[in-house]
Amino acid sequence: MKVKLRIKRFNPQKDRKPYWQEFEVEAEKTDRVLDALHQIRWYQDGTLGFRRSCAHGICGSDAMLINGKNRLACKALFADLGDYVTVEPLRGLPVLKDLIVDMEPFFAAYRAVKPYLINNDQPPLKERLQSPEERARFDDTTKCILCAACTTSCPSFWVNRDYLGPAAIVNAHRFIFDSRDQAAEERLDILASRDGVWRCRTIFNCTDACPRGIQVTKAIEEVKRAIMYAKV
């Protein structure tokens, strides 16, 4: 079948402001938006800018705004989207070219929550023990691929770029609830700041957008309650 893609283009070297451009591509129902973007770049317009790598939803390169929702282009099938599809760059991060946004602010927020295991005890000779239940406690948030679909779908983030955002909170959650970690308090302290969890207004766009099916809002709420129980 033929599909039409309406893509928001912008090349700061040439364009004063973004504009829309339409492309027509031959595609099958089981094809993904990424396949169509490739067709365009390879055979129609070599200047189209977008990121991608794994092409099966595991590397987090190609989150973009497709038909009004954040998704991974490699996981968005025409069978589910129809034959007229609009594609825009993620919101809330500076656009560098076409569908490519500057990810630095996003990773800076990630780094701000100490996203690594902190345990100052001498490690045992073998593994640290952890029961399957303790392991299950934070399983959901270990799935994050840092694609930014959540953070850039959050209206609270759109208006407040200082908000650490759901992805950073998800990655903090992953350690706060890991029985082997000892720095939960430090992270909770960071997340209790003005730009931390309280900027979340339970809008759920993040959860709806997450391509890994992470219960993002649930994780945020668990962090909120942990802060509350620690302080009240």
Binding site: D102, A108, S156, N160, I190, S193, R194, W198, I227
Partner: protein, 128 residues
């Protein structure tokens, strides 16, 4: 772009936003009783047709209703103005305008709380 671990000053919690968040929820729950009760009595069982000076005067004759309205006033004014503070924080980014907006909000809020309480405490019905 070259990056190392740095890039963003580490935020620290002050605790205020937590209490603001908690307050919004607690006041919300309390208002379910006080505000919905108020609405029900004033606007549904009765109506603006009958609400006049005498009606209010009669209602404020009992300490129960005076306390009720005082609590409601405090809850609603604080909840509402804190809500507006959050909106200002979200939408007004220029430092100057934010200060102005917050100043106006706080003056209004304090003014209304003080004024409203004043009436509630000092109101003496006069015959009309």
């Amino acid at each position: 772009m070259a990056t190392n671990g740095a890039g963003r000053p580490r935020p620290r919690g002050s605790g205020f936003e937590l209490y603001s968040w908690l307050f919004m929820r607690i006041s919300g729950v309390l208002m379910l009783i006080f505000l919905l009760g108020h609405l029900y009595i004033m606007h549904i069982i009765n109506s603006v047709e009958v609400v006049n000076y005498n009606f209010v005067a009669a209602r404020w004759g009992t300490p129960l209703w005076r306390t009720w309205d005082l609590i409601l006033l405090l809850l609603a004014a604080l909840h509402g103005s804190n809500g507006l503070r959050i909106l200002i924080d979200d939408y007004i980014h220029s430092h100057g305008w934010r200060v102005v907006a917050l100043a106006v909000l706080y003056v209004l809020a304090i003014g209304f709380i003080l004024g409203g309480s004043l009436v509630l405490f000092t109101f003496q019905p006069v015959a009309s």
